[in-house]
Symmetry: C2
Subunit: 242 residues, 2 copies
Amino acid sequence: MMTIKRHLLLISNSTLHGGGYLEHCKEHIQTFLGSKVKRVLFVPYALHDRDAYAKTARHKFEKLGYTLDSIQESPDPVDAVQKAEAIFIGGGNTFRLLKALYDNGLIPAIKKKVFEDGVPYIGSSAGTNVATISINTTNDMPIVFPPSLQALGLVPFNINPHFLDQDANSKHMGETREQRISQYHEEPNTPPVLGLREGSLLLVEGDRATLLGITRARLFLRGHSPTEHEPGEDFSFLLNQI
Amino acid sequence: MMTIKRHLLLISNSTLHGGGYLEHCKEHIQTFLGSKVKRVLFVPYALHDRDAYAKTARHKFEKLGYTLDSIQESPDPVDAVQKAEAIFIGGGNTFRLLKALYDNGLIPAIKKKVFEDGVPYIGSSAGTNVATISINTTNDMPIVFPPSLQALGLVPFNINPHFLDQDANSKHMGETREQRISQYHEEPNTPPVLGLREGSLLLVEGDRATLLGITRARLFLRGHSPTEHEPGEDFSFLLNQI
């Protein structure tokens, strides 16, 4: 049996209230990348100003001890992925990000790097959404139209980043996050949805998945009541459910 | 010059906090439909349980003095549209609604009824989104994948229903509604977006548009700062901007 080489760190949100960019998860990033990785390839496609975004990410990763190459600085993005030691896809608009991944032919290239070469993948917010089976459970506005909602499929389920509990005091009548996810599960054959509240991360190493961070996660399985899960809990069963 | 026969009542939200279904806009619906219309064709595609949804809508419209036919009760939805005296498309998930309109071949049929036959169209929430040029500014989760985001195009701009102001006390770090709309306007050639807060409606009669209801609207034009508009204001310029 082949060993699954997958290494993923899937972050709910890049910035936690009161903290700086990636500040709340910097130790997790360092532990995850370790000392063998020297350079990280950044994918800033989810924001409009890629150069400004690269500057922010570079500043942070250099402080953590890594050199950051941003993919739009390379003449050949597929080649940049093929040479990457580690990949970090940042947050922003998930539709814009996924469309750019398709437009640049990066979907098969990134899958190959993760599954065959074992290159570590960090995703944050939109970068976490595109790591999953599809972006069907993004919170973002469909500002552009990607050719498909199917994403990288690095895990066989959906994640809802920035998961938000209902505000009991709100007079707003738009659907709650939980209502939106249960509408997804009204559709046939829809996979589990892991609601990652701000402050939580999912670590995937091969066929093991663990919840990290400081907040609980809420898990939605089609046809079942949602369940609450503490940091440290084992989510490996989600990797084997398809 | 041909007279534009378009008659639209575009409602932000079906239910206002503390009130019943369509309660806050029932007088507007009666004034809009008048006494000539006897039967309304309801399109419940935005919710999963179409029969339950039809029951709710029928109950309300009968109290207002109209007979309601729900489109899923007809063997031929295109024929039902062709025979309609008035059309009401209800809220729910906008992606699910638009996909069903395409799947049932209703996009050209409804456009024809509105533009050529002058049949009154009422939309609420998702039903308002699909009346516009596209669903690029829906708040909904992309739980299904329609063949396009282009919608009925009964007006040449976008609406954001349930428009929500930023909550200054929130610790949530997901994008605000305004940030999401400005990300849309980072894309080239994007039309105006009218943010309809809960409690407001847009009345379109031919080439005239007027804001109705009890809340102000916020207008976003690409490359400009957003502006606030009072109920009663004339929005006809939005109809002529393309």
